[in-house]
């Protein structure tokens, strides 16, 4: 058990380091899911749960105004506890939400208090001419949050694992089934939010294009993405033509590649 807690600490630390390495998204549930599952002996389960949580997160981008949700903690703790308790995706969702709120509180604390303290200290060093020390405050602050976050995830897992197992045997299976149904409804909230941002009279047909390609033609996401790029490319070329014509410029005679 202690080994599992230790391994989870490492996994969570690497996940939290996603921004240190260049905002690489390796801490998101789609990636952390199977690794978390692997630590607990069920990589495939973790893989699928990670994919579903990634989807659910599209809808959970902003819960409440004050605290943003921590997708790293939510993903790893949710999946870890669900795999440990032998539960299904509904179980992962049940734990992912509060876990992400706790992680969000920690993150908020860093963003509002700790990192600003590091910044003030950095400015002090620079004012005294100690440029090296000043610059290095950035690195110190950057490593602190991942360490704290990983410790939180590992500790919470250690404390809650046994309790999670009891809860799993206590909850009626229909309730858990209901949670898994809810998990597959939630992505619609995320998509609706994105539609709200991107949909307008000039772009409406393309949403339905994507839908029909998937629903009626059964194309894979890879193919749909490529067709989306082609559609975007066609529109860009058309718009550029219109722009050139309305601004009265001569189009080049032959657009060689």
């Amino acid at each position: 058990m202690l080994i599992k807690v230790g391994l989870l600490f490492l996994v969570a630390f690497l996940a939290y380091m996603q921004d240190f390495l260049g905002t690489t998204f390796i801490g998101r549930p789609l990636v952390s899911g199977w690794i978390t599952g692997l630590v607990l002996g069920a990589p495939l389960q973790g893989l699928v749960m990670g994919a579903v949580l990634e989807l659910v997160w599209m809808g959970l981008m902003e819960i409440g105004a004050a605290i943003s949700l921590d997708i790293v903690a939510g993903g790893i703790l949710g999946i870890a506890l669900a795999v440990w308790a032998d539960g299904n995706i509904g179980f992962a969702l049940l734990f992912a939400l509060p876990a992400s709120i706790l992680g969000g509180i920690l993150e908020n604390f860093f963003y509002s208090k700790i990192n600003s303290a590091y910044c003030r200290r950095a400015k002090e060093y620079i004012d005294r001419g100690q440029l090296d020390k000043g610059a290095r405050m950035h690195i110190a602050a950057s490593l602190f949050h991942p360490l704290a976050g990983a410790a939180m995830v590992a500790l919470l897992f250690g404390m809650c694992a046994g309790w999670a197992q009891n809860l799993a045997s206590f909850l009626p299976p229909t309730f858990l089934h209901g949670l898994s149904v809810a998990a597959m409804l939630l992505p619609a909230v995320g998509f609706a939010t994105l539609l709200g941002m991107m949909l307008n009279k000039k772009t409406v047909p393309f949403f339905f294009l994507g839908f029909i390609l998937a629903a009626a033609l059964g194309l894979s996401m890879t193919a749909i993405v490529m067709i989306g790029c082609i559609a975007g490319g066609i529109m860009f070329i058309l718009l550029s033509e219109i722009h050139q014509n309305t601004s009265g410029k001569e189009a080049p005679a032959d657009e060689d590649f």
Binding site: I26, A122, L185, L186, F191, G210, L219
Partner: protein, 267 residues
């Protein structure tokens, strides 16, 4: 007096690119990415200026408030490097212009960058990755990381080089030619195609109910597979347009899902 090493080299730009990777990692609400920016500029500053007072001035310039999409920051860093280089060579140079350019570039690059990286690129990579992972393929997470990060890293590296060589004049050219608007329009189109596809694949509104022995789901699928998911998503979109907050929609989905799942209306 300038040292013989006053000019910024490709190696310096590569260093800028590498140091820019942890751009978001020490984020604070107060000054956002300020520490990261100063950390990136430091080796350039110590190279360009010999006088410790000038170095200090430069560092103080760059630990001011800064915020932009992480992948777009190397471009601005490159521009700052070019301007600091000119400042070091020319005593009459308007030092205030350096931070002015940073402020001018932050906004437009952030909105374009967010659309590209947090929006379309992430959705495309995640869409493909999720669809593979749901089928049990480990290729899902691998493709997700690759599809996102190859453009991410290329954009960063060439951003640094381009920012140094062309800098703010490039942004002026682009905004005058209207390329940014057309590009955003095209990106929105790509994004919508992706969301359309994902609505079909990844929203599950299916019923095990039968009416007089005939499966309702089979009937719906006969008309158009995924129709219920599409209508549900559009319903949520309509509610959102009516200013129903997303918190209520989330709570609603949870309640609806649990209730309908337990009653056997949805599966």
């Amino acid at each position: 007096m300038r040292t013989s090493e006053g000019k910024i080299t490709k190696k310096d730009l590569r260093g800028l690119f590498l140091r820019s990777l942890p751009m978001e990692a020490s984020f604070s609400y107060e000054s956002m990415m300020s520490m990261a920016y100063a950390y990136c500029m430091k080796p350039i500053i110590t190279k360009l200026y010999d006088d410790p007072e000038k170095q200090k001035d430069a560092m103080q310039r760059h630990i001011e408030f800064f915020n932009c999409t992480s992948a777009c920051t190397p471009f601005i860093l490159g521009a700052s490097a070019a301007m600091e280089e000119q400042n070091a060579m020319d005593p009459q140079y308007d030092t205030g212009a350096i931070n002015q350019v940073k402020s001018d570039l932050m906004g437009p690059l952030a909105s374009l960058g967010d659309t590209i990286f947090w929006g379309v690129l992430r959705m495309a990579a995640a869409g493909i990755g999720i669809s593979l992972a749901l089928q049990g393929s480990y290729l899902g997470p691998v493709l997700f990381v690759l599809l996102f990060n190859v453009p991410n890293f290329l954009f960063r590296y060439f951003g640094a080089v381009l920012g140094y060589e062309k800098g703010p004049s490039l942004i002026r050219e682009l905004s005058q030619s209207g390329v940014v608007e057309r590009l955003t329009w095209a990106l929105n189109i790509l994004g919508l195609v992706i969301i359309g596809g994902m609505t079909a694949f990844m929203v599950r509104v299916q019923t095990p109910l039968t009416i007089a022995g005939v499966s309702v789901q089979a009937g719906l699928d006969h008309v158009l597979p995924g129709l219920a998911a599409l209508l549900f998503t559009l319903l949520l979109y309509w509610l959102m347009k009516k200013n129903v907050s997303s918190n209520w929609l989330i709570a609603g989905c949870l309640l609806l899902g649990v209730a309908a799942g337990m009653c056997g209306i949805l599966a």
